[in-house]
């Protein structure tokens, strides 16, 4: 029970971190956008 709690918590946070990194433009380039999702409007098309 304790083991599973620890596994779920740590691995859940690892996955959340990985998920958040997907949309970070500054992961590959320091000058990249902090959040690439902000470059798109709500319909998914790039902002003008």
């Amino acid at each position: 029970m304790i083991d599973m709690l620890s596994l779920f918590l740590s691995h859940g946070l690892l996955l959340l971190m990985a998920w958040r990194l997907l949309s970070r433009g500054d992961l590959d380039d320091d000058k990249g956008p902090v959040d690439t999702r902000k470059q798109h409007n709500k319909w998914g098309a790039p902002d003008a």
């Binding site: 599973m4 596994l7 690892l14 996955l15 990985a18 958040r20 992961l27 320091d30």
Partner: protein, 455 residues
């Protein structure tokens, strides 16, 4: 259930890694620290998980990563030299079979440590690596911390989820690593951009620090207590109100005494009677043997050369009467102990006995030059504005403190090739290179200055 959980997690990491190849590097770091194969019952045991992630990391880096900021520092060169040296010492080892067995995992640790700084090219990647190391280790630390709080633990008794006695699943190693993580946790609580500071982050970080402090109690590893003391002294340098800090630390230390298990205080008490403690006396005998050994073999005896040791020494039994202990000898009497094939129980003597003076010299260069570089970065950036690289000073402090704790703990445990320590070194190299690029950008003057011509 646990097997399916790990398969699902690793599958998810692989899928996410296809979109952002750097996640493969983080996946390998996770596999290296947690060793899910050790926690799995049957599904993962037949799959080469680390090989899959390592290949993914290398191929992802070769095909998709930017190579403009590629750096190869002197410490990577030193690790490469150590790798070559270890190869030749294995070829001429005293115990070739055992040496080859150790070489099989040591070369992977060193190769990944040389490769890792090449991939850590941005601030976010440095932060992601630190977060992955913390969260991966937290999987063992949280469980051990809760069990300690609930039952008190015990030497060799605390269940660390796996029967394996390698890597972080060895109690003294876990105690040392857990304490070395505390500076990182405190740094990321304030500076993380992946998990921006808020009350949930503070709550998790506070609870995790507490769990880290409980590991030496739960495992009853004396090394852990020494590491806590070292961290306490080092943090004195970083705090704004040192007297308040000393008072609070002393108060908390005294207040925690009634809550500590009796077995823990009894075991810590053995540090006062080195001669009476067989574990400490054996270590001293092995270390004396190692110094004699390198006198004859200055280039070392290859991996596992300790197997050749045998010694005889006199020790005193404890002068304290323990009604619960079986009566074998009179308290305070002298006994003769004969032993052989005892491990080094110290990373310094491990390097000395296995790789000789040159190997120890390279290993010390890798660690001590890292400490020096972090000190330089700390002094250079600590008075800068937040947008002018102040975070570099904070991370350099955390890396320096973590490395010192490792070096102190390593005096009593044979962890010269602990992959976690090499990841710290890789992060130091990456931070150093990043600071150099940052400084270059900051001081760069434009080659051409555009003139505004009035219309």
């Amino acid at each position: 259930m646990r097997d399916l959980f790990f398969v699902a997690f690793l599958g998810a990491m692989l899928l996410l890694g296809m979109r952002r190849p750097f996640l493969m590097v983080l996946g390998y770091v996770y596999v290296d620290i947690v060793s899910p194969q050790h926690l799995s019952y049957y599904l993962l045991n037949s799959i080469p998980v680390s090989l899959i992630f390592f290949l993914g990391a290398v191929v992802g880096w070769l095909m998709f990563d930017r190579k403009q900021v590629l750096t190869f520092g002197p410490r990577q060169g030193a690790m490469l030299l150590l790798l070559v040296y270890c190869y030749f010492s294995t070829e001429n080892a005293d115990f070739p079979l055992e040496a080859t067995e150790k070489w099989d995992w040591v070369w992977k640790v060193l190769v990944f440590a040389i490769f890792l700084p090449l991939t850590i090219t941005t601030r976010l990647r440095i932060e992601a690596l630190a977060t992955t190391m913390i969260l991966s280790a937290s999987c063992i630390i949280i469980a051990a911390g809760i069990k300690t709080a609930a039952s008190g633990g015990g030497y060799g008794v605390l269940n660390l989820m796996s029967d394996s006695n390698t890597g972080l699943y060895e109690s003294s190693t876990l105690a040392c690593v857990a304490i070395s993580l505390i500076p990182f946790i405190l740094y990321l609580r304030r500076n993380s951009t992946i998990f921006p500071p808020d009350w949930r982050v503070s709550l998790f970080c506070g609870a995790l620090c507490f769990a880290c402090l409980l590991i030496p109690v739960g495992t009853e590893a004396r090394t852990g207590l020494i590491c806590i003391a070292a961290l306490g002294v080092m943090m004195l340098r970083a705090v704004k109100r040192p007297f308040l800090y000393i008072f609070a630390a002393a108060f908390l230390g005294l207040a925690s005494l009634p809550f500590l298990p009796e077995s823990f205080t009894k075991r810590m008490d053995t540090m006062n009677e080195v001669q009476a403690d067989e574990s400490a006396s054996t270590r001293l005998a092995v270390w004396r043997w190692t110094i004699d050994y390198v006198g004859i073999h200055p280039m070392g005896g290859g991996f596992d050369s300790y197997r050749g040791n045998s010694f005889r020494y006199e020790a005193r039994t404890s002068s304290k009467f323990d009604p619960n202990a079986p009566v074998v000898h009179e308290p305070g009497s002298t006994i003769v102990i004969v032993d052989e094939g005892r491990a080094f129980h110290s990373a310094y003597f491990e390097m000395l006995g296995e790789q000789g003076w040159p190997g120890l010299g390279i290993w010390l260069f890798i660690h001590l030059s890292g400490l020096l570089r972090m000190e330089i970065l700390l002094r250079r950036y600590r008075n800068r504005a937040p947008e002018d690289g102040h975070w570099i000073a904070g991370l350099a402090t955390a890396l320096q403190q973590a490395n010192i704790i490792y070096l102190i703990g390593a005096a009593f445990i044979g962890v010269a090739y602990l992959s976690f320590a090499y990841m710290l070194i890789a992060m130091q190299i990456a931070l150093d290179a990043h600071a150099r690029r940052f400084e270059r950008e900051r001081t760069r003057k434009p080659f051409f200055v555009a003139k505004v011509v009035p219309a």
